[in-house]
Structure formats: C-alpha cells, structure tokens
Amino acid sequence: MILDGKCPTGPIEQTWDKHRFDLKLVNPANKRKYNVIVVGTGLAGGAAAASLGELGYNVQAFCYQDSPRRAHSIAAQGGINAAKAYPNDGDSIYRLFYDTIKGGDFRAREADVWRLAQVSNNIIDQCVAQGIPFARDYAGYLDNRSFGGAQVSRTFYARGQTGQQLLLGAYSALSRQIKAGTVKMYNRREMLDLVVVDGVARGITVRNLVTGALESYAADAVCLCTGGYVNVFYLSTNAMGCSVTANWKAHKKGALFANPCYTQIHPTCIPQAGDYQSKLTLMSESLRNDGRCWAPKKKGDTRPPNQIPEEDRDYYLERKYPSFGNLAPRDIASRAAKEQCDEGRGVGPGGRGVYLDFADSIKRLSEDTIRERYGNLFEMYEKITDENAYKSPMRIYPAPHYSMGGLWVDYNLMSNVPGLFVLGEANFSVHGANRLGASALMQGLADGYFVIPYTIGGYLATVKPGQVKEDHAEFKKSMEDVNKDVNKLLSINGKRTVTDFMRELGTMMWENCGMARTKESLEANIKKIPALREEFWKNVKVSGSGADLNQQLENAGRTADFLEFGELLCRDALHRNESCGGHFRSEYQYDDGEAKRDDVNYCYVGAWEFKGVGVEPELHKEPLKFENVHLAVRSYK
C-alpha cells in the first residue's frame, strides 16, 4: 500500500495557514459532547490535554506516574528551538525548517517540518506567558544559546532544566483545566490496550497501578502522547518507566509503526560503570558550546588527561568537521566518539569513553562563568562519578536517547486508524532519521498546543459524539485479553527475573542494532530475539498478585512488548539498505566513514503493519517529496 500523508500542497509558506482554514470546525456548544482521551502527560500530552480542555472538549488524561508533572520530558536539559531570530544572526522560519530537514538527513515530510518551524515562535510566547523563567540578559530580553546542527543561536533555555520548566508550564495549564473540570486526570494508570470498534479508535483499557483493577474508558478520539522506545536498549537516558507498550498495543490493533530503526544515540552521556547499572545519564548537548571533545592520539594511552600534552590529543570533531566543530549533530558526534573507541583510543573503564574538556573555556571565561552556565550539570556529573569536571575533563560516551521513529501519522497527526492521534516523540513525523538538539521540546509542545487543537476538530466534526460506550463488546473483549496476559505472566513462575531478560535484550540490541548495524548483526538479532521471547514466556518469574501494586508485573508487561518490538526494529534496520541519520549501516558508508544515503531506493517512510507475533510484518511506503529543499549529501565539514 502506498500511504498518503495528506499534506497540503501549494507554496510551503502557506500550507499550514491554508490547511487550518480548510479544516472543519466543531461548534463551541458541541465541543463538550465530545470525549477525548489523552494518554501520557509530557510536553505533548500535557499541552494537548490542557489546550483541548480549554477549547471545551471533555478530556480524560492518563499517566503511569503519580502526577502528570513527572513525565520524562522533565529531564530535557538544554533548551528549545524557535525561529525568533532575536540575535539578528540570520535565522528565519525557513532556516529552522531547512536545518531540521537537513539534520534529519532528508527523511522527514517537508510540510510537517515547515509547520513545526512556523509555530515554534508561538511556543516561546506561550511559555513566557505561563511564567516559565527563561534565561534573560541584563536588559531583560530573552537569551539564546547555540545547539548542534545549526550555525545560529536559536535555543531558548532555563538553566540546565528547560524540559522541566516547559513541562511544569504545561502541567500548570493542565492543572488549571483539571480545576475547571474540563479535564479529568487519572494518575497511576497504564494503558494496556487500544479499543478499536469497526476500524475506529474508541477507547482504551488501562490498569490501575495501585489496585491492579482493569478499567475501560471510551471516547470519540484517542491521543497517544506516550513518548519513545529507546528503553529497548535497556540502558538509555530514558526514565525507567518509559516503554513502547502503549504504541505497541496500538500497533497490534492496526496502527502502522514507521521508521522504528531511526534511534538517536546521544553523544554526551556518562559512561556505564558496572553491570548492575539501571540507566545512563545525559550531559546536555549545550556543554558542547564550551566543551571540546578529544581522545588521546596514541592507542591505550593511560596517562591522566591533564598529563597528555596538546600534541598528543586529537580534537576529532574540530578536525573532521571544521565548520561545525564540537557542535556537529548528534548522530555524527556519536559515531565519531565510537570510532575513537573502536580504534582503541577510548578512555576510562573498558576504553568506552572520550573526554569533554572545559579547560580552555575556563581559561578564557573563568570557572565562575562556566559554573553559572552549567553548574548543575557539573554537580550531577560529580554525584555520579565522584570526579570534579572543573579540574579534569568529563568522560563521556554515547547512549540511546530518543526515537525518531514512531507510529505513522498523517499531516493531521492521525494514524491510519481513524480517531487515533499520535503526538510528540510517539509519532514519527518531523525529525526524519535524526533529531537536532532542542527540537524535541519544540515538537512536543507544537503538537500539543498548536496542531492537535486544530486537527482534532477537523476529525471530530465528521463523527457523531458518544457512539460507543464502555459496555460495548469490544471493551469487554479487550479487558479479557489484557487480563489473560496478566494472569499468564503471573502463572509462569520461572527462574529468571524480568530485569534479567530485559538486560539481555538490551545488550543484544545495543551490540547488534546500536550505533552501527550490519546485515549479519541484524539477522543474528532477528533470529535470537524470538528465542529469547519464547524463553521469557516460559521462564520468567513474576511474583505477587495482579490485584495489587506490583512493579514486577508492570515491568514484565513492558518487557514482553519490547521483546516483540525489538524484532520489528531490527527488521526495519535490515530492510533499509542505506545509512542515514541515526541509522548507520556499516556496509553503506563513504571512504571517510560518512553515512551513505540512497535516495533512489529509500527516500520513503517505511511503515510496518502488524501481522501477528513472530509473523513477518508488512511494509507500506510513503514516498517523500522534496520540493523546497534540494536533496543533498548532508555535510557539516
């Protein structure tokens, strides 16, 4: 099947405005008759629930945490992009659009990205109005910093906690609507199934994580704002609870999964310290504004970093990418770090690390300036490693961070299942094969505040409200299915813990489908994952009861889904015989090690249709057309 993204046509500058006019509207008096479910309360979900509630829809919002304020958007550190061009340095909506398309290695839809760039400015205004304390200069104007993949300063920030501040802004808007009664909030609920009636999304089945009870919720539209899936690598910068479960359940009910192989490995994370480790911690990309990446020139150089003289250091990013230097995009910086370590020039335990050095900046600007800019990051680094990064360079290594792939959506953010909308990291839409820094916050809030409020109206105006209620047979069936899975997990009583399985899957994914992939490594995974999945369902040990708060059971369910999803990720990576963005196939590279894209054969979105567990999924393609940006080799040299 050839998929149609339903993108508006005509001059790109007018696409969104024209489309907004073309969308049908729901009469204000009728809005309250429509129920909308929002799953997840991060930037996309929080903003969507608040905005839809404010418009007058009847919103039910769900999150697995104890409060909507805890979604993992909160952990984003560096900033949020917008095309405000306040610094007068040549920025424009067009340039943000262009940078994002190029940063994504020409694998995103032009119209979607244009819209993102266009509404980016509204986001900053909205956040300021909410009382988000963005950094300001002494004259009182908003301050900007630089981020990877751009030669302009367009990143707005609130110390090293921009994600937290933006999320708390969305959370406060959401809280206002909860108080007003337009949004009903359900905390500590995990979505375990999408209910589809006659091909249309009509609701969800959730597990109350405190009582263990399964609950049904019906609605006229369901918005999944459930984040990304890089916890499939087990160790990642994501929160422990981040999972593919909500997306995967929707996928199993018919929603297409697009580009799962586009996973972002963030170049600056604290290296792993031991096997017991449960997660990896990100050090913001903003550090690369003032930090210089280097590795020793000599293999196996064990001298302390301060004793390695300048001539024995390789500032590899500055050497390889002189025009972008340390601010090369993430995929490129990550691969470069891996390259250093693979050549035996890595530092720290196991040689899995490179240095991020602030000595020059401290000399140039003073330690106080560096402390003011990144103090909390240096503090965090010291807590975890017990090392003082003002005195000796940080050790960093790439780690899984973000997923560009996600459920397939059209221009209206609606999946191929009518009534199912997907927002934020959970969808595949704007980042192509690689996301630029400070663009995730932009996308989440764009989708939530400024896209879905328009496009959901266009859909709801065409459906009669309240057609299906919770007593429908499909809801009962869904609940029975979920219940069956829960009981099965509890009854296996095997010999290995859930974490044990997840760790094995993660290692497999990281080694064979991580920063670099080959046909052989992927085929090995496609063989090994089903075997591991089979063992899981025979040998996992989940104790306790289903009618209680049971964290093992929660993890078991998520792991079961990762065990199915991991295979899809590998299949997608195997079918895409090219290297682009976060997807690097070792077979497809230029002599200098740069990614070799194949625009003739792979300039499309690959969206997979579920055909059954262990059954080969079916690939559908949405061709990508580039009418405003010239398809070119992506160079940051």
């Binding site: 903003a47 404010e54 909160i74 009382g131 300001r136 809280s175 206002r176 405190v210 031991g274 104790s543």
Partner: protein, 252 residues
C-alpha cells in the same frame, strides 16, 4: 569493572501491604554492593534476590533516576533523600556508605501523604495545591511576544531558583509538622516575582494556602528542615515571600 571492593549492608526497611495495614520494619542484607551503585541500584539488587527467593520485592517510587522527576521518595536514616546536600535518592551513591553499615529506609511520613504500599506514598495533595492556583490563566495562543515583557535578569534568576522545585515532597517529609510551605511558597514566589503572574498574585496566594490547609498539611514553625531536605536547595526565603504575598493579599 569488578575490581572494586564490595560492601555488605544491613537494611531495615518499612514494609506495609496497603494503606490500612499497620506496617512494620523488616531486615534485609545487601551484598556485593560497590561504591558506584546508586542507592536505588542497591535496592534493585536486593529486590532481584528477593524475587528469586520467591519473596515480595520492596516497592518504591522511582522513574527518571537522574534527580529531576521527583518520583523517588525515601527517608534514609531519618533524612529525606538520605541527607546529602542537593541530592535525590536516585542520585545518592553508595560511596557515601561504609561496609557493614545499617541503613533505615522509611517512606515519607506526613498526614497529607497516606502510604500506598511499602515506601510509596500518595502525594496527590501537592497536585491539589497547584490546581488551586499554581498557574497564570493565559489561554493557549493569543499571548504577547516573548520579548514584549522585559524581565530583569536578577528577577528571572530568582524566579528560576523557585521554579526548580521538583515536587518530590521531601520538604513535607522533613518538616516536623508535615507542612508544605516550601513547596507552596516556591510556586507562589515564582509567579509573584514575574510580571506575568502579578495580576493574579493575590487570588493565587489566597487559594493555594487555603488548599494547602484543606489537604491536611501542618503549619510552618520556622525550623527550616524543609530547606535542608530539599534536593534542589530551595531557600526558605520563598516561604517569607509567600507570607508577604499573603499579607498583601489581605489588603488587596
């Protein structure tokens, strides 16, 4: 990676089946712990052993494990988050402990935070306080340009100091009265400092302090335990500012 010395620790952990169970302490041993384990990873190891022995693992709230989501909530040896300055439990590392140590682990204890299970408490009262007025009533869209309101850097910086709150509730857990003054004061102050929040300042402080009392939080007696417990080091000056805003609101 296993060249580090390992520690063995005795854990005395609060176990409580549900809200109505009286609960009790139980003793566990944590073995093969290195100085690089985070506190939660140490508990993960204990739990893995418990699961394999067929016993119920200790449940505790946690999510981001990088000190920002505010989910983790344990009182360790009497100190919320373990007492290391500006550190959440998830950021606390075992190098702060010695081989052979005995560690008491308890949930947040406050009237407004009923225990759900083991170390997990219900903190929805904090949401209720925010819902009472912890926002500016701006509409999505239709707002002024971000630079239309100039905010002096010191004001923006101080608002940010207050806005750093992660809503973990350690201030409540640390307060002998179970008061939420630091939590509420931080939000009231953030919005009262900024021009965007000034319009509704009087109504906000009135509504939020009222909600705070209705949720069952205690009152402030100026011990400043909250500031010591706060993993973000939020200063009690924001309580003073809230008091001032409250007083102003009486004459507004």
């Amino acid at each position: 990676m296993s060249d580090h010395k390992t520690m063995t620790l005795t854990l005395i952990v609060w176990r409580q089946k549900n809200a109505s169970d009286p609960g009790k302490f139980e003793t566990y041993t944590a073995k093969n712990i290195t100085e690089h384990h985070s506190f939660l990873e140490m508990l993960d190891c204990v739990n893995e052993d418990l699961i394999l022995e067929g016993r119920e693992p200790i449940v505790f709230d946690h999510d981001c494990r990088e000190g920002i989501c505010g989910m983790c909530s344990q009182v360790i040896n009497g100190a919320p988050h373990g007492g290391q300055v500006r550190t959440t439990v998830c950021q606390l590392h075992m190098r702060k402990f010695k081989d052979g140590d005995t560690i008491y682990i308890e949930p947040w204890r406050a009237r407004a935070f009923p225990i759900i299970k083991d170390l997990i408490v219900d903190r929805s009262a904090l949401d209720t306080i925010i819902q009472a007025g912890g926002y500016t009533s701006c509409h999505t869209g239709g707002v002024a340009d971000g630079n239309a309101i100039l905010i002096p850097k010191p004001v923006a910086d101080e608002a940010m100091d207050a806005a750093e709150c992660i809503g973990c509730g350690a201030c409540v857990a640390g307060c002998p009265n179970g008061a939420a003054m630091l939590f509420t004061g931080a939000k009231v102050s953030q919005l009262a400092l900024l021009p965007q929040g000034k319009t509704e300042a009087a109504a906000r402080v009135t509504a939020m302090t009222k909600a705070m009392a209705e949720c069952g939080f205690g009152n402030c007696t100026n011990h400043y335990e909250c500031q010591a417990a706060c993993p973000k080091g939020i200063n009690v000056k924001f309580i003073a500012r809230m008091n001032r805003e409250f007083l102003k609101a009486q004459f507004a």
